[in-house]
Symmetry: C2
Subunit: 455 residues, 2 copies
Amino acid sequence: MAVNARIPKGTRDFTPEVMLRRNYIFNTIKEVFHQYGYLPIETPAMENLSTLMGKYGEEGDRLLFKILNSGDYLAKADENALNEKDSNKLISSISEKGLRYDLTVPFARFVVQNRNELSFPFKRYQIQPVWRADRPQKGRYREFYQCDVDVIGSDSLLNEVELIQIVNDVYNRLRLNACFRINNRKILAGLAEIAGASDKMTDMTVAIDKLDKIGLDKVCQELESKDIATNSINKIKEVLALEGSNLEKLNFLKDQFSGSEIGLKGVEELRSVLDYLAPLPIKMDLLFDVTLARGLNYYTGAIFEVSAKDAKMGSITGGGRYDNLTGVFGLKDMSGVGLSFGADRIYDVMLQLGLFEKITNLDQTQLFFVNFGEKEANYCLQLLTRLRNADINAELYPDSAKMKKQMTYANQKNIPYVALIGESEMESGLISLKNMTTGEQQKLSLEEVINVIKR
Amino acid sequence: MAVNARIPKGTRDFTPEVMLRRNYIFNTIKEVFHQYGYLPIETPAMENLSTLMGKYGEEGDRLLFKILNSGDYLAKADENALNEKDSNKLISSISEKGLRYDLTVPFARFVVQNRNELSFPFKRYQIQPVWRADRPQKGRYREFYQCDVDVIGSDSLLNEVELIQIVNDVYNRLRLNACFRINNRKILAGLAEIAGASDKMTDMTVAIDKLDKIGLDKVCQELESKDIATNSINKIKEVLALEGSNLEKLNFLKDQFSGSEIGLKGVEELRSVLDYLAPLPIKMDLLFDVTLARGLNYYTGAIFEVSAKDAKMGSITGGGRYDNLTGVFGLKDMSGVGLSFGADRIYDVMLQLGLFEKITNLDQTQLFFVNFGEKEANYCLQLLTRLRNADINAELYPDSAKMKKQMTYANQKNIPYVALIGESEMESGLISLKNMTTGEQQKLSLEEVINVIKR
């Protein structure tokens, strides 16, 4: 009996049509990374569970895909856990490895394990899938790509500047209008300090992080519920409501933070970054947003979040500076800063805005040869060689099937030009070229065909 | 306590140096694929075990990495298997999914599941990692990339022709001298038939497949041990010892096969392929090798194997035609032909032959700016923008660290040019450019720098 051809829940096949577009996004991002000296690394899909567990909280541990040990895995299974049928307790004795949950922890492990082979500051990017045993739902998958870029081993603010330039260049090339919001964790710490709520820093950032979703009133309610004093909340409210240009906001905060060293440091760092960028050609909006908090506790300096101006999609890129990524693996004092591009969301935004239709350099076939029979095919093979030498993607239908069938194939593959070579073309040495968009057909020499297609 | 930063046994990290070279190989292969109209697909790392099991033999089933079901997986565990501590029997009740073992079975599943969205003949390539719980040893990994290219849904021999051209183009571009050996399963079937051993076809091909490793005498011994008659073995021996040009061999076999329809069909197919190729520019050796058998039973027509002429490495590419890839998933009569490029072996051959040293277009940084301080850095940022607009990969060291430290960084990253911008360069508008290979240093305008680097 035939096996049912079925993909696991929450995973996806990518057909050529989708792959060409995804690759266009990834290739664009990679080209920009290379222009700035960021180089690729790859880590294995599997990591030891000792590397992964405890890094993503209890929920994260649960969502890790665990790999069953090979061979007679029950031989070493925890007897008690087996008898109690305690699934959770049994895991560590029958599973040593898991699939990576993100690229951050594997990157930290990579840096520590390979530190003697790397040159610091180490500028790397990594584009690989990650896996999470989440309940599948619209837009949330159990396998998806992350696209991370980081520099580690330097606390220079030039790194922040460079990452902002990278985001600008990527979205410029993708023709996507972006809004880059920046804040600094030290500014949030300063805010907590001047509000007299330094000990509630985490509660405060967690609450502020929800501002977009729940609004200022509910944020204040949440702050109250965390026993933050009313005058503290008022202070926080005043700052969160801050308006004006980036410079006006910085100047206002500088005054506010006269009593907070860390707050002043945050203002100074952010001002430095903006000063470096001022004379450079940044096309996207660059907005100092004091309400940007980002939930992750490991950020210590700049924090970033990017959205598409013309689409409702939430964050399409985000990141920030961290000081202790590798500490858990025993390597201290490695400050770094990085970003993660959300490929799936970028894809969805570009689809929504019709941006893929404007791209003419997808890696698809540019010229299709109809197959009229063996003699003609032989003739076409030679033309194909010359076209490919001229860097044109071209193919011949493998069978001399009915014209309609062949044209349907060319259409389904979105091939823009079709070449027809019959008796008369073989005699004249010309090619009948059909433009599939306009329907126009003309007889041209091979050189003319190359020029038309490359135009 | 710090967690030990350790990668799982049998897996690898790829550092930027290695990644740039691997990407060079993959990008070269992809470019050639695109030139012939082959497009990418991707399938998920996980497949249902019902898709994977039973496709690779008992050994293969054992080597599949199985993923533990999420949540309380013991709740649905097979009670008997648990009580008997039968690891093997328990698997199906606690694991539904496994990591893909190759790209062939997922491709077949993909074609069947997505058949209504695909245009046939379907030309696809797929470059993704696969996982096998093999005992790790030199050159054998638990995670490695496969790079498959196939066309399915056409039995035209033009597909074979095209794949041979692709192999030729790929190795031409990689500057690797290749020897392409071709045979046809129908010729082997003809041989079995004229030797009166048609019922022993599998035993015969399995034995012949070992010819390279164990020599003709031992192959004959193995044939004897399978109860193949002595005069059959003599006939097989005579054909295996066949020498001469491709055409001479074909002519000899045509005579021999006068009583074997399938044998004649094989000769005719192979002759057609060679005839198509004759007028085309094929640089690699193309050898009809009647001793080429390839173990896999699903091949039904052409079989291919490619080796590097200047290195001892075994097969670096292989494949053939199959008639029933998708049958197991309920889709009959889909003939296809394909190839698999062995990326790890190609990498090793190229390393061994020093071919990477001749490549000048790796995606690495081309120009490094020494950082002399804030003012200079600001100035450099503007130059960097213009260089990147001219498609040059360039970076500025993020800290104004000691010269020696910065130069060491540039050296370790193999950056060929270093730019020095101090007070006098900022005044003159010129750039002091150092060629890191020759040590030569000169003052140039930005345009001149661009020309030097692009030269």
